[in-house]
Amino acid sequence: MAEARAEGVMPNDWSGGALPYRVGHRKLGMWLFIMSDSLTFGALLVTYSYARVASVNWPTPFPFRPSIIFSTAMTFVLLSSSLTMVFAVSASKRQKRATARKWIAATMVLGLTFIVLHLMEWNHLIGEGLAPFELPEEWAKAFPGASPLFGSAFFGITGLHMFHVFTGVCYLGVIAARIKKLNDDVEVAGLYWHFVDLVWMFVFPLIYLLSVDYSGVLAK
């Protein structure tokens, strides 16, 4: 590097012997995973939008209570869990392991709260008769010709997201348990957790807010 500068050539990170990104291999690996995973969710959300637009009628069945209240609360819980994760990362950077562990535990509790709220919401919808390729009778009457793909899109996308949250809670549990041995792993786990939060920022408006029954068709 010094030679290159002395020769007047641009210092080149890519000529070998240097870390071009100035991040460790774990962090870089997590970023690459996040890129590939965002393509998975991107593909699912584009497919959902495609199916929705190409359908004759797409049901918009979610009432304010309980669906929208639940999903908004879930959004707040997930955003707050991201904040607690940020605090965990900053505590671990300051070498305060006990504090970091507490914040990770808070993140896990919020993550579990998200899962419980989401399962309650699922339970409610399944109780109404929603299945992957079947709409409840009431919905089919209220939205004539409605696409039965609603169920598969809903359960597929929110299910995959919920699975990510669950995996994240397990991941954080392992990190919190081994926090004495590891160093930058809290930050890497934080990247994963924020990514899960980020995905929900697109799932929530596309799946929930664009399916609001604001005209009250089902309530009548």
Binding site: Y21, A43, T72, V212
Partner: protein, 199 residues
Amino acid sequence: MVDAKQREVVILNMVLLALAALSLGVAVWDVFSDTFRAGTDDLFLVLVCLMLALLFATPPLLWARANGLLKNPFAEEAVAEGGVEMEVVHEAHGGSDRQNIYVWGALLGLTIFEVFLAYMKVPLTLMVIILMGASIIKAALIVAYFMHLKFERLSLILTIVPTLVVLLCLFAILFPDSFRLQKMRPSEPMQSVEQKQEG
């Protein structure tokens, strides 16, 4: 030796700039040509050309920036030489707890705005655009501050962000096809057509 190397770098950068200009030219030509219909084909061509232009233009622009030919007008006065001091500057800026709480507040505020918007009688297309806009802002806030990307090296940012944007746009290219599919549907359900034929 040094001169030869420098000349080589300059020539390579010029070639890349020319290729970038060519790609940009093809994109512009497509938009203004008579055959432009804003369909999937045009979207694909324009997007790929713009992507190539960006790809070709990045090394010369970075080179120009490194050699002081281009200056960031928003950069602060104390531009450090080399990476070490830069990181110190960044560390001072990055990730204070108060800043993160502000970001969290902004994210909650945007969520409330989105929920409020969902109950407004806004045309669907406009609503989708505003909702997606708000979501992209939220995603950017999360990536920049919570995931700390704003405080990473430019090389990492340039590897991650444009790649993802381009790939997601390439997915989205298929989306307008759904409008065509809807128009292709028979005006009456297939069952009744079959019944008529049988009758």
